[in-house]
Amino acid sequence: MEVKDFLSMLSNGNGISGFEYRIKDTIIDAFREYSDEIEVDRLGNIIALKKGTGNGKIKIMIAAHMDEIGLMVKAIENNGFLRFTSIGGIDPRTILGQEVMVHGKDSILGVVGSKPPHLQTSEEQKKTIQMEDMIIDLGFTKERVSEIVEIGDTITINRKMIDLLNNRVSGKAMDDRAGLASLYELLKMLHEINHFADIYIVATVQEEVTMSGAFTSSYRVNPDIGIAVDVGFGATPELAKSDSLELGEGPGITLGGNIHPGLRKKLIEVSKEFNIKTQMDVDAGPTGTDARAIQITREGIPALVVSIPLRYMHTSVEVLDLDDVFTTAKLLAFYINSIKNEDELEALLCY
């Protein structure tokens, strides 16, 4: 399968935090072909192993999260409209006027509405509409709705990935399905190159809420190095240059407290040696990625963060450049290939 087709399946699929089982088979089916072993842990993390030549003397875990932000049914009104809340960080301004899929017994279409503009006072019109003032219209009576939908059912935006110009695509849940697409490409590449380390490719659950998946999977794998592959803020006019990454210019490599300096130095060296485009990303404290959890698992695990530039993060029209997905995979493959034995790793990890 082409990486782009895989990304499209993931973006169009649904699995908000805590409900990743809805997307897991798509990932397992894709990863299985290129893995020596694959398993799903108690929290739902998918852990795929591609063995290296070193008989497990070095273990590298590379994680991307499979959950997405979304909505959840809170109440069914007498006229059949739904009230809802959000799971993960959602700007309510991005929800108004959307089409949604409500995942009850069946997945059914709905439209998000609110009090119409001309019934709002001029003061109200100047304000944004809060999520508690919106409804979802399913086109059914309460009786029919209650046969299909229950409180606690999940809701995602009804969006299909589309092609923009220049190998760029737009869709929902690119955070962090773009990371998973990169890991899929990496798994393919690992069949073409020699590597000493055993590589654990992990699709984690619940990054958007508690990072619980990263905690338990890194505990189980107990790697020497943990790398989170996530998305970074793509440059747009409203963002400061220092806060953002240019699309198409390669992944951001984070520097800061969450990151092991020796491992990072080596990653930069590899990118330079093989002429792989990367960008500087500075984050002083714990990052908003799985690496934050990985770093403090067990007695501590040296961590890295590699970020695919993504515009309009946490909207349903996130935009990325597929070139960055491939560049990220390539960088990781060369990095893995560059760690030849335990002594070399020891030297990298030395403070």
């Binding site: 944004t128 809060q130 219209d137 092609d163 110009l165 515009r311 309009y312 029209v317």
Partner: protein, 339 residues
């Protein structure tokens, strides 16, 4: 399917060609005369029985949307609105730009980087733009240009209990009804007017009525419908599934009461569900038609439309069918001169 074809087509005010061409294709075999007038209205004449009074049936072709007004150095498109759009519904939507329908998205600042309370602030048009994936101004200009019209990338879909979700129900639903009347086997004479630029100030309707010079006119529309649970019933103008909405008053017309009552009697006599449009908000082509020339008597008949003027509006198939049944019954009585 006609309504799918009509609503998925792009036809913003002043740029109705794509819609007009679809309509011409649909009806040309069923009319005795067809012409596009000097400002783009499509006017047709269907001969048949009449009672010595000229009848005009009007629906507007245009829809609300956006218009590209600038392209910045990064290749992002700045835009203005065409017609009444609540800017709050633009965020996080997919659009098509220009005749080639280049896909683009209207994004927003990530919530992670927003200052406290920033998400309670309405994003102004100046802060929004369309991203088509271009890397620079030069790159963007290969595909789009200033002056390109932008429509929502909404697909027609049926859902719920006989509901339809699509864009531009206002007023492609009126166009569809008028097309169905033109194609029908009723032996009755009338003039059909598919008007331009209703959404930007009822522009096309006046000249259309001027050239037709009708005695009576029926204006077919998609109209306001909202049924939020907290609203008291007097604030709910129409109900979805309640049948065609008959206008009493709006911002542009106080509708002729005897003509309205005549229509209501036809509905009652034929057991056709109907409702009154219980608001004075909004307006339509009737505003210009009833004051055109020496004046004419108008009635407004509308299909209730939830989330009107937003990317995804909702209507009921039952309301469409009942509107058509009512219109046919009206024409049957009209040709016998029973008014």
């Amino acid at each position: 399917m006609l309504l799918k074809k009509l609503t998925e087509a792009s036809g913003l005010s002043g740029n109705e060609k794509e819609v007009r061409d679809i309509i011409i294709n649909e009806i040309k075999a069923y009319v005795d005369d067809i012409k596009t007038d000097k400002i783009g209205n499509l006017i047709v004449h269907k001969k048949g029985k009449n009672a010595g009074k000229k009848l005009m049936i009007a629906a507007h072709m245009d829809e609300i949307g956006l218009l590209v007004k600038d392209i910045d150095s990064k290749g992002l498109l700045k835009f203005m609105t065409v017609g009444g759009i609540d800017k709050r519904i633009l965020v996080s939507k997919v659009v098509y730009v220009g005749e080639k329908k280049i896909p683009g998205v209207i994004g927003a600042k990530p919530i992670h980087l927003q200052k406290k309370d920033e998400s309670s602030k309405v994003l102004d048009l100046d802060e929004l733009y369309i991203d088509i994936g271009a890397k620079s101004l030069e790159d963007a200009e290969k595909y789009v240009k200033v002056g390109d019209y932008v429509s929502f990338a909404t697909e027609y879909e049926e859902f719920g209990d006989g509901f339809i979700k699509t864009k531009a129900i206002d007023d492609r639903v009126g166009c569809a009804l008028l097309i169905d009347l033109i194609k029908s086997d009723l032996d009755v004479e009338f003039y059909g007017a598919f008007t331009v630029m209703e959404e930007v100030g009822l522009v096309g309707a006046g000249p259309a009525a001027y050239s037709i010079e009708p005695d009576y006119a029926l204006i077919l529309e998609g109209t306001l419908c909202y049924e939020m649970p907290e609203l008291e019933s007097h604030l709910i103008p129409t109900k979805l599934g309640g049948g065609p909405a008959i206008s009493i008053i709006d911002r542009t017309t106080i509708y002729n009461a005897p003509f309205r009552e005549w229509i209501v009697k036809i509905a009652e006599k034929n057991n056709i569900p109907f409702q009154y449009r219980k608001t004075n908000m909004g307006g339509n082509d009737s505003g210009r038609i009833h004051t055109s020339g020496a004046g004419c008597i108008t009635a407004g008949i509308s299909v209730p439309t939830r989330y009107i003027h937003s990317p995804s509006s909702v209507m009921s198939k039952k309301d469409y069918d009942n509107s058509l049944v009512l219109l046919r019954a009206i024409l049957e009585e009209y040709k016998e001169g029973k008014f």
